[in-house]
């Protein structure tokens, strides 16, 4: 796995290095201040944002006041898009709104489970890559689709662990393992990670990074939870680099097996 080569180095996406392997979403926080403190505690350097209409009767921008843009790479997502055309339109708007030409591409025709559309996602990725965007597509845990997106020039693939906001963890483990084995671009596990142990598990599998939002934003104490995820991601990454032992069926004594007083 070439990806393991620079295991100890930083996360590199599209030639840009990041010290943190935890990406944080900015949705669902109870207040801008809580969000700001949580971002701070998480150590994240990439934070996702959505695009929506300005409310004409309530026009002051609260989000950006809270976030110190200079400290983070704002990664706009295309949430709300139901097909390639809408996603491309949102990506262009994000750029016009002052974001760098990076986009978390998500296309979810079904508002119920918010699962991504593989065909529209590939179509939109091809267009956006041509337009010079750095594309990070949110996808089902589909190794063949992941490979096709990589071939189309996306900067990463972002397979889901389980449905968005479900907090169920890495339920697609078998397939994500294959994606990681085959991938030539960073694999960022997105969606469904509900606890630091889930994030650690993904990193131990060899994922390059994880993206978390709901689990932090709606935690009893979002700032403490952000810190917990930071440690979980680092723990999992350190363990992956340090080299995990294999799982055994038999027990293996940790004390000398000389028996009683031998």
């Amino acid at each position: 796995m070439k990806r393991k080569m620079n295991a100890e180095g930083p996360l590199i996406i599209a030639g840009r290095a990041f010290g943190s392997r935890l990406l944080l979403g900015t949705g669902k926080f109870s207040s801008p201040q809580v969000m700001k403190d949580a971002l701070n505690a998480s150590g994240a350097e990439i934070v996702t944002v959505a695009l929506r209409r300005v409310e004409l009767d309530n026009a002051q921008d609260t989000l950006l006041n809270a976030v110190d843009i200079s400290r983070y790479l704002l990664l706009p997502n295309t949430s709300g898009a139901r097909n390639a055309e809408e996603a491309v339109r949102l990506a262009r708007l994000a750029k016009a709104a002052g974001c760098e030409p990076w986009v978390k591409l998500e296309i979810t025709p079904d508002p119920h489970y918010l699962l991504p559309d593989p065909v529209e996602t590939l179509k939109a990725a091809e267009i956006l890559v041509k337009e010079g965007f750095t594309v990070l597509p949110y996808i089902n845990a589909d190794p063949v689709l992941a490979k096709r997106l990589e071939d189309a020039g996306t900067a990463t693939v972002m397979p889901l662990g389980s449905p968005i906001g479900s907090n169920r963890g890495v339920k697609t483990r078998e397939l994500i393992e294959i994606i990681i084995e085959k991938a030539g671009v960073p694999v960022i596990v997105d969606a469904g990670l509900g606890a630091p142990s889930h994030a650690a598990e993904a990193m131990e599998m060899g994922a390059d990074a994880v993206l978390v939002n709901t689990a932090v934003a709606v935690a009893g104490d979002p700032i403490a939870m952000a810190r917990a995820f930071k440690k979980g991601v680092e723990a999992g990454r350190d363990a992956f680099v340090a080299g995990l032992g294999i799982q055994r069926k038999r027990a293996e004594a940790s004390s000398p097996l000389t028996g009683f007083l031998r």
């Binding site: 959505a50 209409r53 026009a59 989000l63 002052g98 993206l211």
Partner: protein, 67 residues
């Protein structure tokens, strides 16, 4: 008398206005938004020049919290 569709709502002006003026009137800081006029993006450096006339459809978009 011009009628403009802004973010899905009908609004009226007594004469055509620039994007810049429109945003100012609405109290929107032009730094943080993107503007679409009839499905075409208006580059920020055009805000002062781009006129909005009767029947135009305008989208004013900004970043919000999202995952």
């Amino acid at each position: 008398m011009v009628e403009i569709q802004i973010n899905g709502e009908k609004r009226h002006w007594d004469r055509p206005v620039t994007v810049f003026a429109l945003l100012e009137t609405l109290g929107i800081c032009s730094e943080a938004v993107a503007v679409e006029k009839n499905l075409r993006i208006v580059p920020r450096d055009q805000f002062a020049r781009e006129m909005i006339c009767d029947g135009d459809t305008i989208e004013i978009i900004r970043m919000v919290g999202g995952g």
